[in-house]
Amino acid sequence: MIRTEEMLLNVGPQHPSTHGVFRIVLKIDGETIIEATPVIGYLHRGTEKLAENLQYTQIIPYTDRMDYLAAMTNNYVICHAVETMMNLEIPERAEFLRVIVMELGRIASHLVWFGTYLLDIGAMSPFLYAFREREAIINMLNEICGARLTFNYMRVGGVKWDAPEGWIEKVRDFIPYMREELAGYHDLVTGNEIFLNRVKGIGYYSKEEALNFSLSGANLRCTGTQWDLRKDEPYSIYSRFDFDVPVFHTGDAWARYQCRMQEIEESLKILEQAVEQFPEEGPVMAKVPRIIKPPKGEAFVRIESPRGEIGCYIASEGKKEPYRLKFRRPSFYNLQILPKLLVGENISNLITILGGIDIVLGEVDG
């Protein structure tokens, strides 16, 4: 008879597996978690407070620093909110560029997730491959906007820079390359017995729970909910592209893995079509006033980021600064379910479950 006793275990905030500064206080009995209390806010920079004294264009760089793995979608959400309020029409070429960079960003983000997730649960080499491909994307994004992560690329009314010469061709060449590499990932990881044992049936929740906890993105689609804002509330020019929304039904870490891996494929599909239809020429900025002043009122828009539903609420007084700016940050909402998932789990599954949610702490803490 083994005698066990309750023990308090602190994980983080500087634990590498938490992907940032996330702390979780665990109450464990032997190796079983009986209570988990997440502690967040270590990276809170008060973006929303700062934004109240900034002009709309000045806020865009701050959004880069929320979800720094997919800053393009963050850029887009605030531009989209302002454009919605001002009822602006965006030049076609700009919309294409936006879609291309956002989808490249989505792939890059999923690659980071894939690599680090596997690293977390003990597989070293997938990380190296994933980051090699991600580097190719980062280089392309760097070429178009001059930054590797904090892009500050989009503007209200369009994008800051047109694609340099030959850039679209580079994206075109990247698509088959990435497809090939993706097949390699599946060979390397997807059928791996050890990996499957680590993820199958782990971190399960039902569809109802997922909805109740306001989960979004792959975390929601892994429970059989067909929901992707690109498809269901189309924004930008997504309605022009033919792509599927991968949905899985098992609601566990394995389903979330499959979901994200297929999303890479779907993004490649979108990229392929976008590159094909890319307009030969045209402006990349709409005619917008130099000082952007959305009309008095409020607006809330939401779009699909790699992590789920990212939203932006603006209350405007008709001035050049927002009266109130609020971001609906998917990682923040998605992380809420963690304490519930951990109770009763073996401590070794903590990282599998946390990693499966795919959080970015910059976004959790705002």
Partner: protein
Amino acid sequence: MTKERDDQNPTNDGLSIEEQKKKAAAEAKAKALELAKQRKAEKEAANPEPASEPELTKEELKKKAAAEAKAKALELAKQRKAEKEAANSEPASEPELTKEELKKKAAAEAKAKALELAKQRMAEKEAANSEPASEPELTKEELKKKAAAEAKAKALELAKQRMAEKEADAASTPDSSLEETDDLAKQKALAAAKAKAAAAAKAKAAAAAKAKMLRDAGESDTTETAEAGEDEKAKAAAKAKAAAAAKAKAAAAAKAKALRDAGGGEAAETAGAGDDEKAKAIAAAKAKAAAAAKARAAANAKNAAEEPAEPEKPSPNQPFLDTYVKVIKEQLGPHVLEDAYINKLSKDVPTLVAKPESYYKIADLLKHNEALHFDYLSEMHGTDFETHFEVYNHFYSYENRQSVALKVKIDRNSATTHSITPLWEGANWPERETYDLLGIIFEGHPNLTRIMMPDDWVGHPLRKDYEPHDVEV
């Protein structure tokens, strides 16, 4: 400065040997710079295309403007005068200098030297690339100087051509609001100035001023007087345009002043330029008036077309809103809602404003009523509107594929409302965040503690009257 050094040189006007050395060095540098400038000016005179620099500080720009003034002047007299001015301005900045000032100066000079190199490189590039790079925003003052220096070098024809283009632009966007026109015009004026079409800017400014003058004096063009009732409108538009060209105008004024200062020797030339300007201005004013008339006509047509059409276009979400309101009123009585409307700015989302006491009841109904069934909380936050707090929720129904926004206004003095976490678990952290940052208390919340700020933080940062109390800040 160390104490020791102070002791060594207590009487030397507060300057140590080292400082004196530095001062001497700085002066030497200044002289070298002066020479470099002259050489530069000669070079620039040969090359009429001035270089455009990215990211210049004000100081650098001043220096540049001075240098260019020399180069750009077509007459020797002017050049002499400009040199005199430059010479006068140079020593003025060298009274007793503290150590820090010297340092700054040295740094500035170093920058200036670097700038010289950069300029040369840029000039080479410019020669190859006829399309001028657009510069970062320049302040009014900088623009003035630059424009004044460059104005003379510009061809009259180019200016006219640009004016025509601008007017065509203005005419092609007649439906933009007055403010937008203002901003666009400003942008255009800026862009023109930046692209070294300072002459164009000048002409425009003159035109604007002239147009305004004409109108003020009642000597309106025939196109303007056509409709007496609309005259005011045209005037307002013209005035806005004139205001938009303020920067360019300022540049022109600066130039005029410089000419005046130059004295009688140049009087004849000034008069000639003035005539040219007048002619230009008249042409431009006419074009402008025509454009304004066009814009006015277009706006009128648009108004006429829109006014009857407006009420005929209800939002596609109006039936949904009606349903929600109907269900809520049937179930909870007629007085639970403060307001219900379609928020046109926010993708036509049906928006309900609950009375504070019935907020939870309505939320409950929205979730559990079979006809509504909003099973997903998409967003939840609060806002401080100074007169009151407001909590904003965005719900979504995956069954009906419909959104609704539910708002509730909360008294600022007793900021309390009911938590909806028992209905949607997803409201848990957002409510904590709202409590943390705004201080709204959610009754019935399982664990209402701070989430972003540390537990011992004083105050709620997102309140508009927030004062930081942190001793470390």
